[in-house]
């Protein structure tokens, strides 16, 4: 299994990033490391939409994160606090290069307070873990799964994320074992 490099960009809390490592290590049974990488978020900001272009962030990391060239076997996950979009969709929670080596996930839309609810850090972390595992699943060539509880089930709303688990269903797990 490829080692996973976490790149906190634009200021996610170190506690949140640290809390991700355990579940990722357990799920993917691989080395999970946190690394620094500088990125100017304003370069990816779209004024018309007041959102950040996830595809461009993804490509920037792919082209400029030096470890990707030095260690071709790793996969890199950018973690951002911004509201992400791809041009045709109103928003995305994250984006991955299917079968590639990079992904980006935002927790902007995962926080309960965004929906007028009191802050709930365990819930935020649970959602964040699920989205991160989901995008990494795409990096390992998995596609969306029809099993509601599987982490690869497609989610467009946070309520959808809450319905699924942090783990892969049996089919996706064996697919992942085959592909990694």
């Amino acid at each position: 299994m490829k080692a996973i490099h976490l790149l906190p960009l634009g200021g996610p809390s170190p506690d949140l990033v640290e809390a991700l490592s355990g579940p990722l290590r357990q799920t993917f049974r691989t080395r999970v490391e946190t690394h620094g990488f500088s990125l100017d978020p304003e370069r990816f900001f779209d004024e018309g939409r007041s959102q950040y272009n996830s595809t461009r962030i993804l490509m920037h990391v792919k082209n400029h994160y030096p470890a990707l060239k030095q260690e071709p076997g790793i996969c890199t996950l950018a973690l951002v606090p911004f509201d992400l979009f791809i041009p045709i969709l109103t928003y995305v929670f994250g984006e991955a290069e299917v079968g590639g080596n990079v992904a980006v996930v935002s927790y902007h839309r995962l926080a309960p307070e965004r929906y007028g609810l009191p802050p709930d850090n365990p819930l935020l972390l649970d959602r964040f873990v699920k989205e991160v595992v989901h995008e990494l699943g795409h990096v390992f060539s998995l596609i969306h799964c029809s099993v509601q509880s599987c982490v690869m089930h497609s989610s467009s709303y946070v309520e959808d994320i809450d319905l699924k688990e942090q783990s892969f269903c049996r089919t996706c797990a064996s697919e992942l074992a085959l592909r990694s």
């Binding site: 939409r49 595809t55 979009f85 791809i86 041009p87 045709i88 969709l89 109103t90 928003y91 995305v92 299917v98 795409h138 596609i143 969306h144 497609s154 467009s156 709303y157």
Partner: protein, 448 residues
């Protein structure tokens, strides 16, 4: 349906839209392609089956609405969702009027997009199911009546009624034109599988590789020209009946594959690895001497026993002359309705000629003779002169007909090549299947 079997075609002049939508649907497991303009979309539509088209309204050249109109002229099945940057009531109404399923505005809410695609696929499934049911109903209503009051035909009908409700494999034997397919349809119509399709495979009309692909389907790229995955007849017969016509003409390799699928009800498409299950009943027909073929080693003994569970022998028309009048009147009424002609019946001379004829082409020949007579008849009755029976009724053949010459020539070539069919076919410059047909048609037999 497996998502990888569902095709989505994205049509938009903006590269970023094509790329992001394609990626979005690929992550869902769909088969996706994109076209940058209407002309490219029409080409892609022609080249393969697509379930859904997402079409941008505003494109240079032919716009989305015009593309929608063009597609609808030839393709009623594909679901079209139009994408527009600024939704106005006018454009939405126009798109819907032209046959779009729905429209969405850019940027698209991802949940709305998923929901709309699901809805579109459900709608398409319902339309297809509805069409399938209509086809089945019309097939059942048009499955044809088996006409015959003779003891021979009564026996056949008794056998059909006995075997139809069971799941037993049936072999129907009889000369060409005796109505084997009609009997197969009657068996299907009387079975619990009647609301599922009866799928006919004409095994005699295809080459080895074509038959294999026809039976089992193929994956994309399985062979040159296989641009898309195609379901085979075995898969299409799931729940229903697989009717193997001219089963005696199947080559030995396909015989083995067929035996396996009949035994296990599992198979893989040509060029594929996925195991597909299909629950079907087998009814087959032949006018060949299968026992002889088994003895000669051209037909597998195990397949023969697997197929020959319950046999129905159809008598030739000359063996049930008592049915000729009924059949002739049945066809007369049928063609009167079809041609909107008011022909009341047959003159006594015409009926006598019909009864005296040998009918080597059996009921099919009789049907054709009545149809031809209906075309030329002017009055209330079909006269003797309207019937195309001269040559055979008199039994005189001067041997100068093209068919007679062809028969003699084929016989000669077969004799010259010691009845080696491959060699003879090569000399005649025809394929082996055609030569087998000719041997059967002319009733040629090797001299002992």
């Amino acid at each position: 349906m497996n998502k990888s079997e569902i095709g989505i075609l994205v049509v938009d002049d903006e590269l970023i839209v094509r790329e992001s939508l394609s990626k979005w649907f690929r992550e869902d497991g769909f088969r996706v392609d994109a076209a940058e303009n209407a002309a490219a979309a029409l080409r892609k539509l022609q080249a393969g089956p697509w379930n859904i088209m997402l079409v941008d309204i505003k494109m240079p050249g032919m716009d989305g609405i015009e593309l929608l109109q063009r597609v609808r002229q030839t393709n009623k099945e594909v679901v079209i969702i139009v994408i527009t940057a600024f939704a106005t009531v006018d454009t939405a109404v126009k798109a819907l009027k032209e046959g779009a399923f729905d429209y969405i505005t850019k940027p698209i809410d991802p949940d709305y997009l998923d929901h709309m695609v699901d809805k579109a696929l459900q709608q398409q499934l319902l339309v297809r199911e509805n069409q399938k049911l209509k086809d089945t109903v019309s097939e059942l209503s048009e499955s044809g009546e088996i006409i015959g009051e003779s003891p021979e035909m009564k026996k056949v009908m008794d056998l059909v009624h006995t075997v139809a409700p069971t799941d037993t494999t049936v072999m129907i034997r009889g000369e060409s034109g005796t109505g084997k397919e009609l009997v197969a349809r009657a068996i299907h119509a009387g079975s619990p599988r009647k609301y599922f399709p009866i799928v006919t495979v004409n095994c005699g009309a295809m080459t080895e590789s074509l038959l294999e692909s026809e039976l089992f389907g193929h994956e994309r790229g399985a062979f040159t020209g296989a641009q898309y995955r195609r379901k085979g007849k075995v898969e299409l017969a799931d729940g229903g009946t697989l009717f193997l016509d001219e089963v005696g003409n199947i080559d030995t390799k396909t015989q083995m594959d067929l035996l396996r699928v009949i035994e296990t009800k599992q198979f893989t498409r040509v060029g594929g690895t996925e195991i597909i299950r299909s629950d079907f009943r087998v009814v087959c027909a032949t006018n060949k001497d299968l026992e002889g073929a088994v003895r000669e080693g051209t037909f597998r003994e195990d397949l023969y026993y697997r197929l020959n569970v319950f046999t129905i022998d159809l008598p030739p028309l000359r063996g049930r002359r008592g049915d000729i009048a009924n059949l002739a009147h049945y066809f007369l009424e049928k063609f009167s309705r079809q041609m909107n002609k008011k022909v009341q019946g047959f003159s006594p001379e015409a009926m006598q000629a019909l009864k005296a004829h040998d009918w080597p082409g059996n009921v099919r020949e009789l049907e054709n003779a009545v149809e031809r007579a209906m075309v030329v008849a002017q009055g209330d009755l079909i006269e003797r002169s309207h019937l195309p029976l001269h040559a055979v009724v008199t039994g005189q053949r001067d041997g100068k007909r093209l068919e007679d010459i062809e028969q003699r020539h084929i016989e000669q070539v077969l004799r010259d090549n010691a009845w080696n069919v491959s060699r003879s076919a090569a000399v005649l410059d025809i394929d082996r299947v055609t030569l087998y047909h000719k041997i059967e048609k002319f009733g040629l037999k090797r001299e002992q």
